[in-house]
Amino acid sequence: METLLKISNLSPRARQFVNWSVNVGSVLVCLLVLPTRLPGMELLGIGPNWLLIWVVAWSVKRSPFHGAVAGLALGMIQDGMTSPDPTHALSLMLVGILTARLQKQRWIQEDFISVALIVFGMTMLAGTVTALQYLLQGSRSWAEIWVAHERITLSSAILTSLWAPVVYYPLNRWWEGTKVQQS
């Protein structure tokens, strides 16, 4: 809270600048954690999907448009880091839009478990979208994609939802704080 008090002394422009550096900085941290496999972050060789957590955290209390833009941008970056074929932009954009459409705060006040559940569902959805893209491409057989989808999506969904609060909690605190200041 102390930092927030200091920020309230800043001019609106400077405040906005600090806010955007926090956004960009947190994305950068997620991107840098992506290639690491620290102990406890791995299940059957599969790590959590940090970018998806960020997109869900961002979209949960924002409009579908905001969610779509964040998903598109992070999806494009992840494409650059892996391969653009099949694209991540589509799945993350969908995750952003749907998370915003849920309008969670209207139904549930509680944050931790509901966000973890949303992340779980969204990871399954993103995995399914990727699998469907592979299917349309036709480079792999149906059975092969199904086995890979089952193996990847389930462990990824469990891990990602367990790690979700680590990203969600500090970011949400920050965004709540800045919202209070603006109003």
Binding site: P35, G80, A148
Partner: protein, 247 residues
């Protein structure tokens, strides 16, 4: 016109920010995340292991030598029948630590802590104690990204070193692959050793790859074999990179 003007006055900042965000994302995509991997490399450098201190993988090294030996024996027999064979000269490799894994679960890739500054180029092939591991698909000054042979997108031309029967291999997960043979009638047994084939364009021939685990001869259109990699791909900490084969 007036409404447009009012909308712009109210939303210009948002439009600019959205444009900026998507523009940056696009640039990162086009450069294949080079900046991110460079930052990653400089941040993780203090935590990286020193390749020279790795003694644990000696066992895998012995296995690689056994594979190479059996390959050399068959090759030697063939050579006795041939004349005028020009020996290939082996170039020195670059030892590189593995600093990162793939940024998504659907791809089997690793990031190495060496790049163009150390002489690595796109198309270089990557070996580890145990055998072939993959191929460099993109490089930055200090990092390079390797598509592993365990990725479903990487197809390697392989042959059974005992009977010289050819086929190609497709990755499945971190320690398994499927090989499809070109022939219908096979002389292959579980336990046979696989090496890269002489018709492979991406890799030099005779690199140890894996071992036949089981066979499915009824499979149509071509018989298949389940392959187990000889290199322990998921436990690797460092690899050796060799320059591309094409002249």
């Amino acid at each position: 016109m007036f409404t447009l003007r009012r909308w712009w006055d109210r939303h210009w900042l948002q439009v600019v920010l959205v444009g900026l965000t998507l523009g940056t994302a696009w640039v990162i995509e086009q450069t294949q995340g080079a900046a991110i991997f460079e930052v990653y490399q400089s941040l993780t450098r203090p935590f990286q292991s020193n390749p020279n201190q790795q003694e644990k993988l000696i066992n895998a090294r012995v296995q690689e030598m056994l594979v190479q030996l059996s390959q050399l024996q068959t090759e030697n027999q063939k050579l006795k029948q041939l004349l005028g064979y020009v020996a290939e000269r082996k170039q020195p490799g670059i030892v590189a630590p593995i600093v990162g894994h793939s940024a998504d679960q659907w791809w089997q890739e690793v990031t190495l802590g060496r790049g163009t500054k150390h002489g690595i180029q796109v198309g270089s092939y990557v070996m580890a104690p145990g055998g072939l591991v993959g191929r460099v698909v993109s490089v930055t000054p200090h990092t390079s990204r390797v598509l592993l042979i365990s990725d479903a997108a990487s197809r390697v031309g392989v042959m059974v070193s005992r009977s010289h029967q050819m086929g190609y291999m497709r990755g499945q997960d971190s320690h398994k692959a499927v090989m499809q043979f070109f022939d219908k009638v096979l002389d292959v047994r579980p336990g046979d050793v696989l090496v890269t084939s002489s018709v492979s364009q991406l890799f030099p021939s005779g690199l140890p790859v894996g071992r036949v685990e089981s066979l499915n001869l009824q499979k149509s259109p071509a018989p298949e074999a389940a392959i187990e990699f000889t290199a322990p791909i998921s436990y690797l900490e460092w690899v050796v990179v060799y320059p591309p084969t094409s002249e």
